[in-house]
Symmetry: D2
Subunit: 360 residues, 4 copies
């Protein structure tokens, strides 16, 4: 049982609050003798960190990651890797005005009721700032997977729906994703999305998003029945991300609308190599990877901290209203892309190690 730990063999435990002195995580179970550097981890950190475009919060955090243990002469030793990220741009006074009110859509109310105490500064532990630690752990998972699985392994996420704006997934181009501030995979949608999001922000509102993750190079056989299915653990991993309300594997919720023929991916042998005619299963059957690409997607609800006034109550139970100023992303879903990649990578490495344990 573990409130703040994720994973079974490759495990990480995160700690820290939005406006504490630092946040961090401890990664346990990493295989030994893998080259790991702060610079390599930092690349992923930089994808998530705030203040990089006008579409994300203006909080300035360099999100510089420091390795405190577990790496010796540039290589993992098999012992816990402790990572720390100092908080730099804490403006706790921003929160004084709302410390006695519950922001609708936030966990202010539930944390206080559960624990009888809460660190209200920037949401404390409930803040998405915690996800920086996940990205760091995920970066290590990616490094290990690349070492073990080779070049065919890759994981990439993209925003495929920005509020009411969709994109054309047929135009999906991995090379475009990092080139625009939305992680949009369809170059043609970027301009429209920019206009749209500026309008959303100007209106004092916010919007949600759908993120799709695609993984190549996963061998057949990862996953385990019944309660450690690969898709079970992916669902948990993605649903644990702040503001996520839905998770799909392959066809996902849409599988309900398909016929048996459409849905079941036919198998064909071509010159001795197995091909699937489709991938509605998202690369997972019976909880075990098929060798196809792993496909998962998840929905992030619109940012709850908005300028537009909302009805709420205060700590004493009195009716009041709230308009959240501060420095907030108009669409938190955008920055969920590297977090989704990180969580998925951790699940995949964990299952690789689990499979190695039982099946050799």
């Amino acid at each position: 049982m573990s409130f703040n730990t994720f994973g079974k063999i490759f495990r990480f435990t995160t700690w820290g609050e939005s406006h504490g002195s630092a946040i961090g995580c401890v990664v346990d179970g990493c295989p030994p003798n893998i080259s790991i550097s702060e610079a390599e981890i930092q690349k992923d950190m930089n994808m998530r960190r705030p203040g990089q475009s006008k579409f994300t919060t203006q909080r300035k955090e360099s999100d510089k990651v420091n390795i405190l243990s577990g790496v010796f002469n540039g290589k993992s030793t098999g012992t816990p890797i402790s990572l720390i990220i100092y908080n730099e741009d804490k403006r706790s006074r921003d929160y004084e005005s709302i410390k006695n009110k519950f922001r609708p859509g936030h966990a202010d109310f539930t944390y206080l009721k559960k624990y009888g105490i809460r660190d209200f500064r920037g949401g404390g532990r409930q803040s998405a700032r915690e996800t920086a630690s996940r990205v760091a752990a995920g970066a290590i998972a990616k490094i290990v997977l690349k070492k073990i699985l080779g070049k065919k392994f890759s994981v990439i996420g993209a925003v495929t729906q920005l509020g009411l704006m969709s994109c054309d997934k047929l135009n999906w181009n991995n090379n475009e994703i990092r080139k625009n501030p939305f992680f949009c995979p369809d170059k043609k949608s970027v301009k429209l999305w920019e206009k749209y999001l500026l309008a959303v922000r100007k209106s004092g509102s916010s919007c949600g998003a759908i993120i799709e993750l695609r993984v190549t190079g996963i061998p057949v056989g990862l996953g385990a029945p019944i309660y450690s299915k690969l898709d079970t653990d992916i669902a948990a991993a993605l649903m644990s991300i702040n503001a996520v309300k839905g998770v799909n594997i392959g066809a996902g919720m849409n599988a309900a609308f398909l016929s048996g023929e459409e849905n079941s991916d036919e198998m064909i042998s071509k010159s001795g190599k197995l091909n699937f005619k489709s991938n509605n299963a998202g690369g997972i059957l019976g909880g075990i990877s098929t060798g196809q690409n792993i496909i998962a997607s998840f929905a992030v609800k619109p940012t709850s901290s908005i300028l537009n006034k909302r009805k709420t109550i205060d700590k004493k139970g009195k009716n009041t209203s709230i308009s959240v100023k501060g420095r907030h992303d108009p669409c938190v879903g955008i920055r969920a892309v590297p977090i989704g990649e990180a969580m998925l990578s951790c699940v995949l490495l964990d299952h690789f190690l689990m499979n190695r344990a039982q099946c050799g």
Copy 2:
């Protein structure tokens, strides 16, 4: 780490294959001194068991549950409750013809590749027969929750989408759900659904479904950040059910399309009592219950065992085709209703106990 165990404090471990002598589960961590009887558990078993209408498999199983341990003089003793259900109607010869072929959409291929061996009779361990054990464990969870939370606690599931047929959720009536063979909550849809499903079956195909679960009487404060969020564990619980491909909490995937104002549920105090104006959060904020109803839904893919011929390969990698005869549900989603209720009940009891552990 546990392949076949679910839960943290209230835990159950299932075992057994579709065509072995029996299946069963061991429930650990059940609070002591709770009245538990085979009869009470059987009620839930009867909701799931096959052969009850023309719309489910004609395999005849009484699914009679036997308590082997952990209950003394009609009360739980706090020690493990072992439950066994004997398999009665095993026609393993049905599977001889397909033992060397991989059924598309099934786990035949992945099990064999992973383990190098598989019990092909009725899908062996990968069969949905395993879910009978979950329903038994879930029945115990419900009994305990009712004892602890009192009459205000209830959990009910319904099919809200049957393939291409929806129902009007505004007509949701708990009393109708058990009265029709589809667990449909809208009386007006039943006739149409019946016609539709007969047509689907006649065509040799199958269809998917969406199941919605609603829980009342859950107090505020259950759940735990960050990786044991209530919704994280619900997502894992539901995704672990056979053939499930998507999970939503509250607004779910649709949250992506809402504005910040629409999505964040406003809070209003009325004569000293808190009311939420909506429940897009599905009763969970920051992974912790708000005291509202818990709402979750999940999609079940269409039955993969269909009469219509599908391309596939055999164990030797040769191209072939398959037409699955046997005795299969045209929509496995229907029988997923009691399974969803069971899994959700287990998660809720588990979190109740976890919260009691940390917060007293």
Copy 3:
């Protein structure tokens, strides 16, 4: 967290009470494709089962083990192996006379205080009858270890101290151990022990024992710092056996009396092969196996159920006395030998799989 489950990757969950209809266990995480038969498991069961000599309880149990799942065509499938052993010789009336009294040295008092209810028949869940399940799980662990490690692997336990009677460990002979009713490794001690134990029984008393376990064929590298040390898990495994009060690894408690020179096992290379000059470490340094034999021992307290009258209280808190008739072993430590072997085997297999997971 798991009250009735042991192990991390190779895990077993036991259930059942002394006088219920059956006891059993579910073994999860067993590698696939290993030949496993009831006959092979039964050999170990027969070492532990009661009624085999005049020095053990006269309760007649055949302890016949049945495999209910997880084995297909004689081979493990990688799915849970469910084992059941029916209770045959239940004389619950024996316990009627003591159901309202707490037997000193037994868990009668603590179970009732903890749970508010207890199955008093034969000690219910607290009975050593539970250990039959462990022996079954351990038999599977041994089979797997033999398959993986080959013939050099062996595990054997012996009673080295029977109450006040010691034996000469220099005369340790593996072939003698199974030939006498005490699992005594020193042929010369058997006669004396027989006399001694008969006298103990005649006097209406009981005695304790020390059991030593020796394992060959374990490679260097099993175990894991810091809280999953091999010796940590062995200590937990052995201390979890009923009536065990002390555990030693290698020199054990006596290590306190050695000098630094005596204690630290010197290493010498001989024709390219490493030799240790001694084995005070019991084959474990820093929680990791050295490649030497694993040596562990544990003390079992004297049987608490004795004929001689003891002071105690009843359920209402009134002073009374008790003389336990029933059918009890004069020294429960004797039958702890196969249980110790079983638990140690499970730990070693578990660590083998853990090491394979992290280190490949």
Copy 4:
């Protein structure tokens, strides 16, 4: 599964190497709203820290603990408490001379064989420096237990055997323990021990120790059958401490030599209050606390780093010898006292929370 995490509900994860920049731990599952300060934790840190007398290593570490998260306005918030201790006095050059040799009795050999890499500086992760983190976690456990159980709760450890020198346990005086550099509970033994240990050191050797732990104020009912017995978890906790080779509960290994009458602690009611006539069980029956004092003891082997020359091999397998200079404790057992207290406190709090979960 967790290599570097201890506990089930109250859990801590430690990280860090002897000569890295820092060590630390993350404590998860701490109940909320408990007053926790660095100053209070520091008191326990100061009991363990090196350089305090001529009988411990002269490495100078202030062992100043810093709280990085989980405490807000002086109170625990229920979220992870991250603790960091910076390493100050690292003289890694001390280890250059021995980096290619395996010190007998140390984990140098096993770590390198297991992981293929090791941080040789000061033993890296295998160093007892890791135990500083345990003491910090244990200090928090003590604070919580005092808050929950009140003043009757206390935990104290003492050295009762220093190499060949025993003390008279009848003279045990809690107030003396902290007044001498040996944590000796018997004032009369201090002088003799001082002489003895100086002689041991002068001779270039080292000695072992036995530590006894005594806990008051634990209510009846903590612990859980079968594999989470209170004594099982205590055995694991104490055996996980560096250099520990044996663990006793109550009479421990000596239970083997007692008769059934001597061993089973009689129960007597006196003016409505239960009294046990003895405490051979160490306050635990059937894995569950009886309400008596909890008594556990453990043996620490003599320091393996000694000046006297020992035979060993180097990394290439060649025979050589080693004489360890550096700054080492002549008896590491002395500093194990606060570590034992810490580990035992963590187990007890964990079981308190577990019991609260299941039994309310």
